[in-house]
């Protein structure tokens, strides 16, 4: 990216493609609403100890399954814990899982995809077959199996989700690298005598970043749902620590007499996932104006 920035300095009036894309993004109302919601959830997660009105773990036998009221805005759960406070603290598990697992996927998928696309030959053939094999196992089922064998915990759920989502990034990076490596500037970089590593990292990688950002944003949405799913099944965040998925798991036993227990955590998952989807769609349209 350093090279791009120097070019901007030399021509102050001309916008870089990245800046143009950001301007297009800013004009998309859906994407901005999504971004706003994401920022809201991030702040909620960071300031959970100050925002939450009650201790998320404090039980109260005198306040079991109370309907929403002025004291407990979202009601209380089966052992008298404040649902609002647990939803606020649960933001941490969901956001953390979304971000960490996508970072794992990127850290594994991008170098491998880059190697496959750039080196070609048997390296590509081998990597592509392994990717096919991983893609053949449905994402959630693979994540469940990995989490089951690794043992139930939030960390293992993030590892499981990250590994399961890796093949998408391998495939995307590889396809982008194949398209970029035949460009003239790559040829020029090679002619000047740059090493393969330098060409791959300095000349190819920066040019495949845009679709990766789009995919990563959409993958966070999928990872948040996946973490909630694993927690719902009991394979993610372990009780009593709050997470939206495990709250729903308990709540499903009280559908008839405490519906508020299921409404709020589910709504939070929906809103967070929707925000990342809106942002991802907006980014895709902004980076690729031909789309849509």
């Amino acid at each position: 990216m350093a090279a791009v920035l120097t070019a901007t300095d030399a021509l102050p009036r001309e916008l870089t493609p990245a800046q143009r894309a950001l301007r297009r993004l800013a004009r998309r109302r859906g994407a901005m609403v999504g971004l706003g919601c994401v920022v809201f959830f991030v702040l909620l997660a960071l300031f959970a100890p100050w925002v939450a009105p009650h201790d998320p773990l404090a039980t109260s036998w005198s306040a079991v399954r109370q309907a929403p009221s002025a004291h407990y805005l979202f009601g209380t759960d089966e052992i008298g814990r404040d649902v609002l406070s647990r939803v606020i603290w649960g933001t941490r598990a969901s956001l953390l899982a979304g971000l960490v697992s996508v970072c794992i996927s990127l850290a594994l998928g991008v170098p491998v995809g880059l190697a496959a696309g750039y080196l070609g030959g048997w390296v590509d053939a081998l990597i592509s077959r392994i990717t096919d094999a991983m893609l053949a196992c449905p994402f959630l089922i693979l994540a469940i199996a990995l989490a089951a064998f690794l043992g139930p915990s939030l960390t293992n759920a993030m590892i499981a989700i990250g590994i399961s989502a890796t093949p998408i990034f391998v495939r995307l990076t590889r396809a982008q690298v194949l398209a970029v490596k035949v460009e003239d500037y790559v040829e020029a970089a090679r002619a000047v005598g740059n090493s393969h590593l330098r060409i791959a990292l300095r000349h190819i990688l920066p040019n495949v970043v845009a679709p990766l950002i789009v995919q990563a944003t959409l993958a966070i949405a999928a990872a948040v749902i996946a973490e909630a799913s694993l927690s719902f099944l009991g394979l993610g965040q372990q009780p009593p620590a709050p997470s939206w998925g495990s709250m729903l798991n308990t709540a499903k036993n009280y559908i008839d007499n405490a519906p508020w227990m299921s409404v709020w955590p589910g709504l939070s998952i929906f809103l967070l996932v929707l925000s990342f989807n809106l942002l991802g769609d907006g980014l895709r349209d902004a980076f690729d104006p031909r789309h849509k």
Partner: protein
């Protein structure tokens, strides 16, 4: 045609090989001694000794893979530690339930997803298009276990129209079976409908601007005929291929849907196996889904090949 078939089949073999390595490798993730872990919580020394011999745990990894793969190729996916039943039998027993659920979900997804996709492409940039896009975003962003809970709340608890959970065999009581399956099928089909809507919309938009569609319009054909007969037929080709890719997520979705609605299918099998530490069942289910997925994608490719004359040449 023959060459294409052979080439396509040839790519499956290495894929299946790596799938088998991946699934066999899962076992190696178990912390500590696999025999102790596989034996469950009882740590019965007899069971451990039996498992050690059975899984050839004293032999090197590649030999163990060889024994395991040989069994798989003979249709032996191992035995459930808990239920003392061959995994293959367990899978075949639960399969019909999931097949029914998934088929109903696919029908629902096609009806809603493809129609919404056509509508939004034909009425691009209108309120219809906007509404269809909102519908797709909703479908992609709703966790299906939450949707399941909400539907139970409304249709079972509040209105009392449908049973909250459970399963009845269609051979015993067809009406009861459909009543029990309609909510789960809708929940499962919801996100798949969204995926199909997006694919149909973009395929239709591409096709609707093609020359032959303009010709069809120019010769005075009714718009309905142009859209449904000329455009849709071609637009559906990529939708079928991409739809087959999305089928994997549908299979993943059955796990949650069956858990929420207590349906004794394939998805429930893997969840129960996870909690019973019945690892050979988990491996068997993953291997089976992967094989189904690979086969379906092969069939989709063949269908694509058959409906597209340009590919045959």
């Amino acid at each position: 045609m023959f060459k294409f078939l052979v080439q396509r089949l040839a790519t499956i073999i290495p894929t299946l090989f790596f799938v088998s390595i991946l699934i066999f490798g899962l076992q190696q993730l178990l912390p500590g001694d696999p025999a102790t872990a596989l034996a469950g919580e009882d740590h019965d020394p007899n069971v451990i000794a039996y498992l050690r011999a059975k899984f050839h745990l004293d032999e090197p990894v590649y030999m163990r893979y060889f024994y395991w793969a040989r069994g798989v190729l003979h249709g032996d996916l191992g035995e459930s530690v808990r239920i003392q039943k061959p995994v293959t039998d367990l899978i075949l027993e639960k399969l019909p339930v999931t097949v029914q659920l998934a088929s109903m979900a696919i029908v629902i997804a096609i009806v809603f997803g493809v129609s919404a996709g056509i509508l939004s492409a034909v009425k691009k940039d209108t309120a219809w298009d906007y509404a269809a896009n909102v519908f797709a975003l909703w479908g992609l962003s709703t966790p299906n276990f939450w949707l399941g809970i909400l539907l139970i709340m409304l249709f079972a608890v509040k209105l009392g129209w449908l049973p909250a959970s459970g399963y009845v065999s269609p051979f015993e009581d067809l009406k009861g079976n459909l009543a029990a399956m309609i909510m789960p099928a809708f929940v499962l089909g919801n996100s798949f409908a969204a995926v199909l809507m997006r694919h149909t919309r973009s395929a239709m938009l591409q096709v609707l601007s093609a020359d032959y569609v303009r010709t069809a319009r120019a010769k005075g054909l009714e718009e309905r005929v142009v859209v449904l007969k000329h455009a849709l037929r071609n637009a559906l080709v990529p939708v079928i291929t991409l739809g087959a890719l999305g089928f994997g997520e549908l299979l993943g979705g059955t796990v949650l849907t069956e858990t929420v609605f207590s349906i004794p299918g394939f998805g429930k099998l893997i969840v129960d196996a996870v909690f019973n530490r019945d690892y050979s069942v988990v491996q068997g289910v993953v291997l089976f889904t992967a094989t189904v997925y690979i086969t379906l994608n092969l069939l989709a490719d063949l269908a694509y090949f058959l409906v597209n004359p340009r590919m045959r040449g």
